[in-house]
Symmetry: none
Subunit: 224 residues, 2 copies
DNA sequence: CATTTTACATGTAAAATCTATGTAAAATCC
DNA sequence: GGATTTTACATAGATTTTACATGTAAAATG
């Protein structure tokens, strides 16, 4: 989900439309107030933020986002009209991940959105594991799908964590039993399969992120 | 080591100076020719690439880099003078990791360099087997031909891995049955041949990398 | 020497067989 | 009582077998 905060209605509509037609979920807001009230409902995977806004300006909103633990890591792309504004965000010291100068082409915007998302999906410094719409926070012991919490049991959580910590790498059932269960097992067991099933079920739309590699084991994020 | 390809001497000097004074090793080149001849000596950890260059342009250089297995994974940041979105989009889609529009602030550039390097350090190689356009990653259990994933079954994968791990060495059918299948077989079986066939088929253009050595067995990379 | 024959080796499509996985439901463990 | 594991079975998909076509080196023949 991408949020766009922009006071000019026609630009806002244009951006939201462009994002949607490029396969993103998107939502527009005219000012910081609207935006923050929605933010409580669902944390987006990216925010497009105009600098000049009625009420609280973009820079201030950005600081707000960065100071809240829940939104600290949400990538932000700033939209700037003047090059004087541009100066404020250059150096990226304000903590924006990228910026686009108006007037901008739609395709340029989409490209930058993609680039920033690609980056943010890979970087996991504060421990939060991210994979598309699927987030796992080891410290908080919380998993969310599209921003909504999913309640997992201990084994389910550990299993998912193990896979997400090793994005792209296939784990055999034996290896999983060893790392997640601590077994040093011999013989048959369908335990892993059953847990994968419940996981997939609980993760809903994100369930298919767990790939089966036939004859080998399971993997998450094969294309990375 | 960071390489910077930029025809404008003063900009090039500036960039190299800025990088060096920020603790990076850096080297500048005025065109693709200089750059490529140096590339044979040492593969850099990052390349800064101007789009407009005399001779081969930046986009073409980028494609070159990406098509060579040795440099495929080197991160590239594009430098562009025109902000026309054409340049930017083609830059991103041809596989650049980021791009910076001139005129840019030195600190912005350094920030981006740091960000890209941070990213790339995480995803460093893991026993990936390479043979021309054919790549096999044992950990991820993924095979790509010209960068596109090819889905192999377990036996196909193991067979290919066995051959690629022993580049240039001929394997008899018996030996293959022993290593890949674990059989200690006597008697006739066409199993290997059938699997070689499906492999060759699935690998498409790279199928002919698997050579038949008549009367002996199969081999990959006979000329190495 | 050129060619034909012979004897196998290999390629290939399709059928037959086998097995890994998904899944529901029961049993067992904290 | 929920979490976890075991059991049991159906089935998609992988693997192997079969049967025949084609390729090829070397011997036999003209």
């Amino acid at each position: 989900m991408i949020y766009c905060v922009e006071d000019d209605g026609s630009i806002r509509e244009l951006i939201v439309y462009a994002l949607k037609s490029n396969g993103f979920d998107a939502m527009g807001f005219a000012d910081g107030k609207e935006f923050f009230s929605r933010l409580k409902e669902q944390t987006p995977s990216l925010v497009l933020l105009d600098i000049m806004l009625p009420g609280e300006d973009g820079i201030s909103i950005l600081r707000h986002l960065r100071s809240n633990p829940d939104t600290r890591k949400v990538p932000v792309i700033m939209l700037t009209a003047k090059s004087s504004e541009f100066d404020k965000v250059t150096g990226l010291d304000s903590g924006a991940d990228d910026y686009v100068t108006k007037p901008f082409g739609v395709m340029e915007l989409i490209s930058r959105v993609r680039a920033v998302l690609r980056r943010s999906e890979q970087s996991y410094d504060s421990g939060e594991l991210v994979m598309d719409q699927l987030h796992l926070n080891p410290q908080k012991h919380i998993v969310t799908v599209k921003g909504k919490e999913v309640v997992l049991t201990f084994k389910e959580f550990e299993l998912l964590k193990c896979l997400m910590e090793n994005k792209g790498i296939v784990f055999t059932r034996d290896k999983l039993l060893e790392t997640v269960w601590g077994y040093d097992f011999e013989g048959e067991t369908r335990t892993v399969d059953v847990h994968v099933r419940t996981l997939r079920q609980k993760l809903g739309e994100c369930g298919n992120l767990i790939e089966t590699v036939r004859g080998v084991g399971y993997r998450i994020g094969g294309n990375q």
